[in-house]
Symmetry: C2
Subunit: 462 residues, 2 copies
């Protein structure tokens, strides 16, 4: 938890931005796995964490814009809870640590919100993503769960996005902690990537390192020799010589801040020339993107430049033909990189994705593009100092997608399908770093993971 | 997944037991952590797994008792899903693997159930423990979420408990796999339990081993020098010499079967005499309990015997006074062991706890006792061959509980509070094995973890 002035200042800043009303911030509860008392690791709601900082289940925060007050609703523990969970600070004590003076038991939130509605006051909330909070908001507001999206406060989303997009020094320090754990995870995975080892075991061990760091993984580990499957959570294979192992994984700190790195390494520790050819293109796209990032540039343009680097590299290898700029305009690169260059990162690994991508990654100036290869871009808007984002170009050979493009004659003037088929079992390569936008440019967060083929091979040698 | 005949036979057996109607078995969906697409490790619903065996989200099973048919509702993937998640078998292919011939898209379940209700057919379901399935059942059945518990089918619960309580050979083999992973977790924790090591790190590493085994932990790891806090998920301390580290942890297989072990070891590898005195009492209670377990015995009686062993041992040490049987009758041992001796284990670590403890651990003959020290007993009923259960006696010194008993004059005739205060910072010891009830007695599942002080000290020496 940061010191309490941070939270007081954040709530006051939000109040100044808002036109009026009540801001409802339901915290998360423990999520059951297979029966009510057997729960997943607790994950607090990020918006609640940002404004109230308490990493405990069963709380409800209210920021009253009109009255200038903050409220926390929650229940204190009884003697049975102490036997099972140990002594706990009271709600009042916890609230005091984040500068909140008014507390009440959880059930009082119903009367409190009801009174506000009765008074005709505006009530603001962001989209609830957990079923239990959808039910809670339905009970509080009398809005059918399916209709809740229609009542979400765009005013609240806009102001919170403005605030959370720019990270302060405490947040950057937390993200760097998450990066340090992520570094250890990836180096461990590299060293374990020997022939015959099981993907599942490596994925488990590196998740264990994340948990040991205090927070757990920032998203389910992707670790696979089928890197062409972008979110591959199947880890059932043993490592085979000649294959590439793609690991996309990051950690969360105890306060919820994320890291997110991807590296792709040759099983056994030595790249083939064919692998190195593709790898160097992805690496060039990564390096050029970092070099371009600075305040004022649109990330959509950085993305399109990475697409050009990839298209040009693949043209040199004979997989793409024709004019590079034209090919990118037609989205030919999207056969090989069907995702965007990156996303905002902070308290969520895809920061604020619960509010809706269009409110976070785009703005009035830069709108999402439907164009092939840019539709999947989570972040397109102009960057500002203090933004934290990922830079994760990739090249993949996805059999189902190649087949579809061939069948539907998509971009046949730019794709050399015969040559592409020589890579049918290649897999995929992605290289991802986390960047902080500085006054002058960009800084890679954390110690940079081994990334050149030489660095990777040296790390894998031990 | 077991072979399809197992699932066909289970569904047919349930049909034979049921008086009629439709059995609704909603599977689980992915549970969001901090936004809709960032989800926890998928955990299938255990009842669904037992009857339909498919470990994938977004399915709904129906067992039609009257018509003798089975249905699976779910959606096939499209090209976008393939790009992100890789090629997937169709619902029809998955259904065929578990002997189900009728499949339809998920949304058809609404019309299907609606028709059955229209026809006046009885619809059976077990208590939904996830908010999204409460919402789903509300939509399907038109019952307010808060009223769903009133409509749960006790007939279904009773028959499923009868079936799932007795484990077949395939299930026992799975549980032994979970035990093998649990063994590795605990031995790793023992070896790591050196002065200065962080609890969080050990807890993380052993969870990583569970994940590497294919399923993850069967419940959140309990690992603490405050073993007196029974479900201690706070791992924020560094290990200190002279303390005991209690680890209660188990693994799940990829098919959902659990293990659940507890060991308590001295930080640094050497028990003090004071620790050994208490440890040997808990060990005796554990060993005597295993020796008593056999078909036909009530687990309540095994529990009460363990209470006598503990009371008698603590009397020898001067912490308890007076007649042992009388003291147990008055629940004096409950100051030191405020929980029950064990619980059923299978597809859930507390098997079928979602149905309600009274339906699983008790029966018409053996009813739950309100008596001090037995109220927390999850399993009291007469045992049968094929039951799998835990044996987990413990002795704890819980400052808040000691204070409460002193203040309220509870069992003052049996408790020597002055002597007890000498153990105020002792912590707690629990020793837990998993037992299979055999024709003759009981078998400890998996290779037994080091348990005598000598075995533990030797393991910790490396
Ligand atoms: Mn990423
Ligand atoms: Mn247990």
């Amino acid at each position: 938890m940061f010191k309490k002035d941070v939270y007081i200042e954040r709530r006051n800043r939000l109040r100044e931005k808002m036109s009026g009303g009540l801001v409802l911030l339901p915290g998360n509860v423990d999520a059951p796995m297979n029966y009510p008392d057997n729960t997943y690791h607790f994950r607090q709601d990020s918006t609640f964490l940002y404004f109230f900082g308490i990493n405990k289940p069963g709380l409800f925060g209210v920021i009253d814009v009109d009255e200038g007050t903050d409220m926390l609703f929650g229940n204190d523990v009884d003697i049975d809870d102490i036997i099972w969970m140990g002594p706990q600070p009271t709600l009042r004590e916890q609230a005091a640590q984040v500068g909140v003076k008014c507390t009440d038991s959880f059930n009082e939130v119903y009367a409190y919100v009801n009174k506000a509605l009765w008074q005709g006051r505006r009530v603001h909330f962001v989209p609830p993503y957990r079923a239990n909070n959808r039910l809670l908001l339905k009970e509080l507001l009398g809005i059918h769960t399916a209709k809740l999206p229609d009542y979400v406060s765009l005013e609240l989303i806009k102001h919170v996005v403005d605030m959370r997009s720019v990270k302060d020094q405490y947040e950057i320090a937390e993200i760097e902690k998450a990066c340090a754990t992520g570094y250890e995870m990836h180096v461990t995975a590299m060293k374990m990537a020997k022939e015959g080892e099981s993907e599942q075991k490596i994925a488990g061990i590196i998740e264990g390192i994340a948990l040991g760091g205090g927070g757990g993984v920032s998203f389910p580990v992707i670790l696979s020799q089928h890197g062409e499957t972008l979110h591959n959570h199947d880890h059932s294979l043993k490592l085979k010589k000649g294959m590439l192992m793609l690991t996309d994984a990051g950690a969360e700190t105890g306060m919820g801040y994320a890291s997110d790195f991807t590296r792709t390494v040759p099983v056994g520790g030595k790249f083939t020339q064919k692998q190195k050819d593709i790898y160097e293109i992805v690496l060039a796209a990564n390096n050029e993107s970092t070099a371009m990032v600075k305040p004022g540039i649109r990330y959509l343009d950085v993305h399109l430049n990475a697409a050009r680097v990839i298209t040009s590299g693949l043209k040199d290898l004979g997989l793409i033909k024709g004019d590079v700029d034209e090919a990118v305009r037609h989205g030919a690169h999207a056969l090989f990189m069907p995702h965007g260059l990156g996303h905002m990162m902070g308290l969520d690994v895809h920061d604020m994705e619960d509010y809706g991508q269009v409110y976070v990654g785009y703005d009035d100036e830069t709108r999402p593009m439907e164009r092939l290869g840019a539709a999947g871009l989570r972040l397109g808007r102009r960057l500002q100092e203090g933004f934290v984002l990922t830079n994760e170009p990739g090249i993949y050979f996805i059999p189902a997608l190649i087949e579809k493009w061939k069948k539907d004659y998509i971009n046949t003037q730019y794709i050399n399908f015969d040559k592409v088929m020589e890579y049918a079992d290649f897999g995929g390569i992605r290289l991802e770093d986390d960047l902080l936008v500085t006054a002058e440019g960009a800084r890679i967060l954390g110690k940079r993971l081994p990334i050149t083929p030489d660095e990777v091979e040296e790390t894998m040698r031990g």
